[in-house]
Symmetry: C2
Subunit: 369 residues, 2 copies
DNA sequence: TTGTAGGCGTTATCAA
DNA sequence: TTGATAACGCCTACAA
């Protein structure tokens, strides 16, 4: 049925042919007298701008790329014509000749993660006004896919690459380095990033969690999370912090899947079915923590009196679920913005004074702990 | 602090210079004897493949693009060499010469929407294995941004464009049509899509909601949602359905912002503070519905006895929040996949028999209604 | 400060 | 079925 309220309309042959009819070229060069292109006409080329300005094409190119090298009056005239005609450089011709495009490749581990998307958005906010286009790809946490995508970069010739994560495979690290362009890694704090980094220590976040529990007077604590990747780092930090603060980690529950809250529900149920009396649980991410929180409420437990729950990720649902989830995390959009501006600086040829930046971890305290 | 546990390390000059050292070219043409490129070497070109195969470049090009036009033996040899050397066509040279790239532009209204991201993912799943790259942009529900991005397409020369929405501005519709490439609109069911459509009727979803309420025996119903865009369509359908089923719409609450659950909380609170006794509320999206559900529980209301709540969007949180949110929606990933395969068909030059496809709306019944 | 010459890597066109 | 030729639009290198 149609949104206009009419009965469902079978597509007519007109629908099918409409596109074919779209491109009549009324005048010889498809352009009005002032050089502005009309719909359906080929966009203006640099030679056209040059002709209108009475200069050579290379001068137009310079007026756009290195304005300081073109005489004031000419530059103004050229830019005015560019504006009027809506001229835009053909990015493919530029990439072909100059060897690099205006595309910045951004790889997220998972498009479903609000935090990763926020980081990419932040990065785009900085880069897009400068004429760069973000090309977003999803690695799906798969090394194979990561490798394929990194290989495809050789031909794409992006101006820079950014990841919501760090690259661990040495071969991929080498391939990226060999591109000779700015590479940004994020979301961790490795000893030796490929090129640039805006990250935070996952180990610290575990320590932070332990310290928080200690400060609130909990002694018998537990961990839920993955035993690989970032989860493992958070666990290591949690252990360290617990030892330092004299806490007992009475249980560590490893989950393989972290795809929905159900995984967190199950994990908490399993944890509670053990013998150890648990006062507080640190969940390595908010999806697990949210599931755990819901399960605790379903079981009629009071939070935080019967059990305290702490998550990681600053997810927005966390705020709304009574009694509110306490969560450790970063400002992902800010991470993206910082990454974007460092990338920008590098693309302009400057080396940032600090190619490695740390983002602050913060704890948002709510009712669950 | 570092994830390796070491103390925070100030970046050394090595960090800064590492990238500079990345590209030594040990042999004259930076390539091993079998033609395979090494890290840091320029990737092989089509002439190199042609030389190795003892044919002309154009034959290599044909072997890749129109294999049926190349003799069996030659084709096999060429493809074997392509495989061995890791040759990949330079996309910029191809785009420059042929006039179209392998990029498919995908515009989402909002990257934070899981449903939109799912649709884009589904589309990518179909297109990427065929060698197309998805370039994702965010319009932020802004006409200005939409217009800018559409203009930039003229130069990007994508192979196709997809939107999680429909284009309303006539100028943008014309600009898109003038690109002469497949255009895919989604998420609604307008009378006259630009080119292709995989959509569903937002009006129908409102009718569906009213019918559901009628079937469950609710009489006094209400609506929460935006008065513009899709929200307005859902309201129209809800009104129609209510009239047909003999329901009383005792309140229609318009919200301007739908950015967090808080908006839904507030809306329900406001609704309940009115005089009308309300039995059931249809919320135009799940974010609002989730907020409303939480608010109802906070107020100690029983769902669905004291108040029934119905959402739209099949969001995943909806499942987990007790007593479970009843929600109308579509399979977004499937929408994306269908869109992708129609786009693919068009890019290959075939016209799909049905350029307009309807996606089924389904209702997932849970405890809230 | 401006311009000339030429080529980036591929594919359209036409000829054989 | 294959190849020669030229051109896509721009920018690097060099010259004036």
């Amino acid at each position: 049925m149609s949104d206009t309220g009419a009965a469902k309309r079978p597509p007519t042959i007109d629908d099918v042919l409409r596109l074919r009819a779209a491109e009549p070229l009324p005048s010889s060069d498809g352009r009005t007298e002032d050089g502005a292109a009309r719909d359906g006409a080929a966009p203006p080329r640099i030679v056209e701008i040059a002709r209108l300005a009475g200069v050579s094409p290379i001068t137009v190119s310079r007026a756009l790329r290195q304005p300081e090298k073109v005489a004031e009056a000419k530059r103004r005239k050229i830019l005015e014509i560019v504006e009027r005609t809506g001229y835009a450089t053909n990015p493919h011709a530029r990439a072909l000749r100059s060897g690099h495009s205006n595309i910045v490749a951004a790889f997220v581990s998972n498009l479903q993660s609000q935090q990763f998307c926020l980081a990419v958005q932040g990065c785009g906010e900085v880069l897009e006004p400068q004429g760069y286009q973000l090309m977003i790809g999803q690695t799906s946490y798969s090394y194979a896919k990561e490798t394929t995508m990194i290989q495809s970069l050789r031909e794409m010739r992006p101006a820079a690459v950014m990841f919501t994560g760090v690259i661990e495979i040495e071969e991929n690290r080498r391939a990226l380095r060999a591109l000779g362009i700015p590479i940004m890694e994020t979301w961790a704090y490795p000893r030796d990033p490929i090129d640039m980094l805006v990250g935070f220590s996952n180990i610290d976040s575990g320590r932070f969690a332990a310290e928080h529990f200690a400060g609130r007077g909990y002694r018998r604590v537990a961990f839920i999370g993955r035993r690989s990747g970032r989860g493992a780092l958070r666990l290591n930090g949690f252990r360290e912090g617990a030892r330092a603060a004299g806490l007992d980690i009475v249980a560590e529950l490893s989950v393989d899947r972290v795809t929905s809250m159900v995984d967190g529900r199950r994990a908490l149920a399993e944890l509670l079915s053990g013998n150890a009396a648990i006062e507080a649980v640190f969940c390595a991410n908010d999806l697990l923590a949210t599931g755990a929180l819901l399960e605790a409420r379903r079981l009629g437990l009071r939070l935080p009196e019967d059990i305290a729950i702490l998550g990681f990720g600053h997810s927005d649902v966390a705020e709304e679920l009574p009694p509110g989830l306490t969560t450790i995390g970063i400002d992902s959009r800010d991470l993206g913005r910082q990454a974007g501006s460092m990338i920008l600086q590098r693309m302009r040829g400057d080396m940032p004074a600090e190619p490695i930046r740390a983002i602050d971890l913060t704890l948002t305290h709510r009712g669950s702990s």
